[in-house]
């Protein structure tokens, strides 16, 4: 397993957000984490990245216990998070945003990594000198993913990448993400079911901070829909 969570509990002060969460992600696997707003997806991702310290439970990455390590150590080990809302620096240029993806990684091959990101999202090359805040929503999401790719992560985590984007833009984004699976493992957190489960190898459903269901591509999404909503609609 590339990433393994064992009975992770976490929250803010007295508020318990995650309860007994266990999940794992294999090498080259694309895993979807489905859950409604407030289910604990973002908190779970922040715990994996070390931004929030878990109250109990352990997190293993490449066989090493990373529980409680600071975010910069975890970033350097190869986990990159594209946060909800994209987490860009709007007044900095596209190029500066991308280069910040290499923060804390000494002697990184900047040019090579930029070329790699530009090859996936060519529009970012055209816009490289523009302010990040001046990009369209879709371009901003590409930039956020591109910045995470700069550090050549082993595990890429996308928190609600489709939020606020037109369906056609989401399709293109998902297509780019799917192509990345031969280079790295990916977790996608989303509220809707259809799109992420259509490309994921496995999926988990999180509700009220608990993993309530899990399955693989073999278990049809229709099944999941029925269980999730009680009815077979999307």
């Amino acid at each position: 397993m590339l990433l393994a969570l064992k009975s992770v509990e976490a929250g803010y002060g007295d508020l318990r957000v995650l309860r007994d969460v266990s999940m794992d992600v294999g090498e080259g696997e694309l895993v979807a984490l489905i859950g409604p707003n407030g289910a604990g997806k973002s908190t779970l991702f922040k715990v994996i990245c070390g931004v929030i310290k878990p109250d109990s439970g352990r997190i293993y990455f490449m066989g090493r216990d990373i529980t409680g390590l600071p975010p910069e150590r975890i970033c350097r080990m190869g986990i990159a998070l594209v946060p909800e809302g994209r987490g860009l620096f709007p007044n900095l240029s596209v190029r500066d945003n991308l280069e910040l993806g290499l923060y804390g990684i000494p002697r990184a091959p900047v040019k090579e990594r930029l070329d790699f990101v530009y090859s996936i999202f060519p529009v970012l090359r055209e816009r490289s000198r523009q302010r990040a805040g001046s990009l369209s929503g879709g371009e901003q999401q590409m930039l956020a993913v591109g910045r995470a790719l700069m550090g050549a992560p082993r595990l890429l985590i996308l928190d609600e990448p489709s939020s606020g984007l037109a369906p056609i833009v989401v399709d293109r984004l998902y297509e780019s993400v799917r192509k990345l699976t031969d280079r790295m493992s990916i977790i996608i957190g989303e509220q809707n079911i259809k799109r992420p489960t259509s490309i994921a190898h496995r999926w988990y459903v999180i509700e009220n901070g608990r993993i309530v269901m899990e399955g693989s591509a073999k278990r049809p999404a229709k099944d999941l829909q029925t269980a999730y909503f009680g009815v077979g609609t999307d």
């Binding site: 990245c49 975010p71 970033c75 998070l81 620096f89 500066d96 910040l100 923060y103 804390g104 910045r147």
Partner: protein, 290 residues
């Protein structure tokens, strides 16, 4: 009043403005990046001038050579100040920083008073005070040096901010702090470096102020006011804006001094700041954070 006299006034205002901008850069950095108001900014500048005074009375060298010691010394002061004191104050809220630095300013003033008495001092030597001629304009050499230093420091800061990873991180933190943390930037480690940088620049400002004018322990707050003016005039978070803000203040200061007399210089300058802030509340360059 002939054209030569007008040109002299304008160039004098520009050179003085360069010096004012130099006083403002450090303030611009602490306000723009750390988002804290360092009320002791002027006192720290004067502290740098006194450090230089001690250096120069030990080794009798050209005044600007003292920067080789004053700049690293003030970088260390800034780093320690932020790391040990202001980071903690900042965690409780920006107003705590105001209170702490206000107290720090008083402490510095009184320390300087005990060590150096109330006498006027200057770092200037005969050489620096010699007049130079730029066409019809006659001014002391030191003012040209002030302006040149201001431009050089601005260029160096722009280079650091725009083309180094540390500079990008300094701009990223105020732009989106949660996102900065996610990509592994720790603001509490960036702030001491930013403050060190601000105080290194402040050392240059202090030494040049001390070479251009006389100084005494309680003159710091006057320069804090000037620094504050250049920053809010130019637009928060834009160093180029601070430079332009400095030039505007320098020109207004010199021209109003010529027209209304020295008594009204500061008042005229503050009125101009007030008017510009009413017309363009985000400053001349409508700055965002760098």
């Amino acid at each position: 009043m002939g054209p030569a006299a007008v040109a002299t006034l304008l160039v004098q205002g520009m050179f003085l403005g360069g010096l004012y901008a130099l006083a403002g850069y450090g303030f611009s950095i602490s306000l723009g990046i750390i988002r804290e108001i360092n009320v002791a900014h002027g006192d720290l500048m004067i502290l740098a001038a006194y450090i230089s005074l001690v250096v120069l009375s030990t080794w009798r060298v050209f005044p600007l050579l003292s920067l080789l010691l004053t700049v690293p010394a003030m970088f260390t002061v800034g780093w320690l100040l932020q790391r040990l004191l202001l980071n903690r104050a900042l965690r409780r809220g920006p107003s705590h920083v105001v209170v702490v630095t206000f107290a720090l300013g008083i402490a510095i003033e009184n320390l300087l008073l005990i060590l150096f008495s109330y006498n006027n001092r200057t770092l200037a030597t005969g050489y620096l005070l010699q007049g130079i001629s730029l066409g019809a304009v006659q001014l002391p050499l030191v003012m040209a040096v002030d302006f040149a230093a201001s431009v050089v420091v601005l260029a160096a800061l722009q280079l650091i901010m725009g083309h180094t990873m540390l500079g990008r991180a300094m701009r990223a933190v105020p732009a989106n702090e949660p996102a900065a943390r996610i990509i592994g930037i720790r603001p509490e480690r960036i702030y001491p470096l930013a403050m060190g940088l601000a105080m290194a620049v402040n050392a240059v400002a202090g030494v040049l102020l001390g070479s251009t004018f006389v100084f005494y322990p309680s003159v710091g707050p006057d320069y804090m006011l000037i620094a504050f003016g250049t920053v809010i005039l130019g637009g928060l978070g834009s160093l180029l804006g601070t430079f332009i803000g400095g030039l505007v203040m320098g020109e207004v200061f010199v021209l109003s001094g010529y027209m209304f007399g020295a008594t009204y210089q500061m008042m005229a300058t503050l009125i101009v700041i007030f008017v510009i802030m009413v017309l363009s509340p985000r400053g001349i360059l409508r700055g965002e954070i760098f």
